[in-house]
Symmetry: C2
Subunit: 110 residues, 2 copies
Amino acid sequence: MGVTKSENFTVEQNELAILAKAIGHPARIAIIQYLIKVKSCVCGDIVNKLPLSQPTISQHLKELKNAGLIKGTVEGNTICYCLDEAGFSKIKAFTEHLNLYFENQNNQCC
Amino acid sequence: MGVTKSENFTVEQNELAILAKAIGHPARIAIIQYLIKVKSCVCGDIVNKLPLSQPTISQHLKELKNAGLIKGTVEGNTICYCLDEAGFSKIKAFTEHLNLYFENQNNQCC
DNA sequence: TTTGTATATTGCAATATTACGATATAAATA
DNA sequence: TATTTATATCGTAATATTGCAATATACAAA
């Protein structure tokens, strides 16, 4: 099929899945890492930083934006992108659960 | 195409992408959440906990295992699954970078 | 040994994703 | 106004993912 049965899962599970899926591509990881590295918004040079064509990068940026992981602000001719805390804070809550799990792994069996 | 140009990105970027992609499905989130909740291995009742067929769940478990996010141990007739710290520790390192970014967001522009 | 139980694999149909050339749009500049 | 520059959208081909029925495998129990 190729179609995910979203209706069988909770809103939270679907939200987390959408976020993780959006992160799940090396080009989108590279975009996120670049935005972390420069420590601010980036106006208009992302295309030059990635080994993909302009339409492809535009598509990846759109997906990150749809997932709530980056924000884009029109700045005259160019667009300024930066990380969006909204999306990442949901991931943070999830990973903190995981950290707690591994810190208290008393009853492990395998 | 549908084929990711992995060779254009770093090993780290590809590894992270594979991990995030594996998490990026509500059924696999549900499996992870269930393993967190029961706080131990789970032997043989995952199929009853999810609203998907047995072959589909088997496939999702395989993907989580391939990504290094869960471990499975054969226990007679059943298989015991638990979370695998190996995979999650890589994600932890990545999210900690992000946390630092948002804690020091002095030079934000959008 | 036969039967039951749990999980994996195969095969396939439907849909999603990735990538990019061509083209559109919109602002900046000459 | 015409041209350049930056980004988005469209259309399409190739490949990947999702889901399940059917079947296989492997151990357990009768």
